[in-house]
Amino acid sequence: MNKFINLLKKEIKEMITLQIVISLLFTTGLFYFIGVIAKSEIEKVAAERDVYIVDLDGSQESGLLTDNLSLAGFKVNLLEERDKSSAIEYANANNIDLLIVIPEGFGEAASQFQFKDIETYTYIRSFSISSSAGTALVEGVIGEINRYLSNNFLKEKFPDIEPENLKNPIKSRDFVIVKGKMAAGSAAEVSSFVYSQSIFVPIILMMIILYSSQMVLSAIALEKQDKTLETLLTVPISRNYIVIAKMVASGLVGLISAGVYMLGFRYYMGSLMGNIPSDGQAGELIQQLGLQFKPNDFILLGISLFLAILCALGLAIILGVLVEDLKSAQTMILPLIFLVMIPYFISMFSDINSLSLPVRVLIMLIPFSHPFIASQNILLGNYDIVFYGIIYMLVVFVVLIVIAGRIFSTDRVLTVKLSFGRKRLAKDY
């Protein structure tokens, strides 16, 4: 055991280099920095509801309209310019983003229910998130004006009826049923809440798998490149220990790297997704439907994630035998990336159960698919598929580790190389 610990310490020391630490901190800092900028832009969008109005009509109706916009939450700024072109010039000179012109005769036409067009001028000064908010602001203002005018019209014509009842005579009450439990709420609300809560599971998994696999592949490639593997293979220690030490060290370093990386990433995503509903109402709905992870569910999900990582490490060890140096290790990681990315994207944008049978079987054969689909299936109470996935991954891992152990216990670890897509034996041995 002491020999194994000795080996493990060496592997970790070799993996955690200054370059790795700097690159990790830089990436995390970069995500944090982007997150700060994105957050401030989004806050700017939410805060800026300034509306500049030139009222060329000056009637009671146009006055009521601007008052109503104030009541609706817009900050109304009335310009004193008395013609359209000077108002546009003023707006241009004062960096005003949205200018609304109420035409002359608007009030008189409105009193006869013959409306005149209101003109809006939006200035695009950049293509940032906040600049694109101008369109939404215009739509909001026009929507509010239309609501105000149409309600007035309906009240005038049908004084005994609520205008909203006339505009939307049929209303619906939404119910959602999951696992036989029913609660009042919309399916979209449930989906967006579950999505916001579980979006990080596949991202974390993908990061850890890719980091750890890259680590283990690089560890073997480096041993070959620096000509240290031969010496290591002649020391009195079990070859299986060599394989396991590399896997454990890669798993640990990969886990730490992905964890640090995710801190920055989580801040970045949190900044972008701050508007996804996660309030008490949605939380209550989720609770009523039982769409929450129980402690046992977390354990199940953890086992599934852990086995997927072990499978990736086992596969990476075998691929590592085929590499000659760090350069070829970067190419050799590609098949693994594809195997992880396919279920990752499918789980992000589609439902695996809705795919055709052959495609579904193909996806299920990839061991990394199982943790991606496990979180949703656990929430929906489909435990069978999660258990089958765990058993399948365990079998795959055992097979991979036996293959890796056998390769390391023979001279194939030194003699087999992959060169331009074909296997050859090293002639110089």
Binding site: K227, L233, P236, D411, L414, L425, K427, Y429
Partner: protein, 241 residues
């Protein structure tokens, strides 16, 4: 009768259809330096790698201290050390960390561990640089570090593939002297080299190998007399021609 540390009998190794070793046989006695000399591709490194338990073999028998290499490779690894021709050390470890890392695999207790590390520090000769990372060492320093690693445990059999490969004259001389001194303390050495002068200086006996076959075995002086040659290079040329 001299104790036999290594016995190789009719050793064969095939790479696909190519015969790298065609049935070679030799023995290495206790406290002896036995050298394999021959051109590139003769089978020297293959032989050394087989004895070092790295490569499998197609036929024959190899015994290290009476242990069958096919049956007891793990036990054999406790008694041997191997210095490959182009070996490197872990660049992110310091020289001292590397020596300690290797010593832990062989030492039975703390006392033995300290003894191995102390001996290795004596062999390397650059104690002040052992706190630096291996990545900052010159080629000569790395080679000395690796030789120190190979000899610090006083193995029963040290397998050295081109021990002075790529080194300057001063470093080569130092390494040869270190090897000689360890043999006097009981270690047996199996080595290979292209450098006939080195072989002449170091070896007690040599085997001249070409195309996977041993052409001649004997003491350098006797071989030179037999073939009326000034040096081993001439012996080698006459045998190959």
């Amino acid at each position: 009768m001299d104790e036999i540390i290594l016995r190789v009998e009719n050793l064969k190794k095939n790479y696909g259809k190519r015969e790298a070793l065609k049935g070679i046989s030799f023995e290495v006695k206790k406290g002896e330096i036995f050298a394999l000399i021959g051109p590139n591709g003769a089978g020297k490194t293959t032989t050394l790698r087989i004895v070092a338990t790295l490569l499998s073999f197609s036929g024959g028998r190899v015994e290290v201290m009476g242990l069958d290499l096919k049956k007891e490779p793990k036990r054999i690894r406790e008694e041997i050390t191997y210095l490959p021709e182009e070996a490197g050390a872990y660049k992110n470890l310091t020289g001292m960390d590397y020596l300690k890392f290797m010593a832990r695999f062989y030492a039975a207790d703390k006392h033995e561990f300290d003894e191995y590390v102390e001996r290795a520090v004596e062999i390397v000769g650059f104690k002040d640089r052992l706190k630096d990372k291996v990545g900052t060492y010159s080629k000569g320093m790395v080679r000395k570090l690796l030789l120190a690693r190979a000899l610090m445990t006083k193995p029963r059999l040290a397998i050295l593939d081109e021990p002075t490969s790529g080194l300057d004259v001063i470093n080569s001389l130092e390494i040869r002297e270190i090897i000689r001194s360890f043999v006097q303390e009981g270690t047996s050495v199996l080595l290979s080299s292209h450098n006939m002068l080195e072989i002449d200086f170091l070896s007690d006996r040599v085997a001249i190998i070409d195309k996977g076959e041993i052409l001649e075995i004997g003491e350098p002086e006797i071989l030179k007399q037999e073939y009326s040659a000034q040096n081993l290079e001439e012996v080698f040329r006459r045998l190959v021609q």
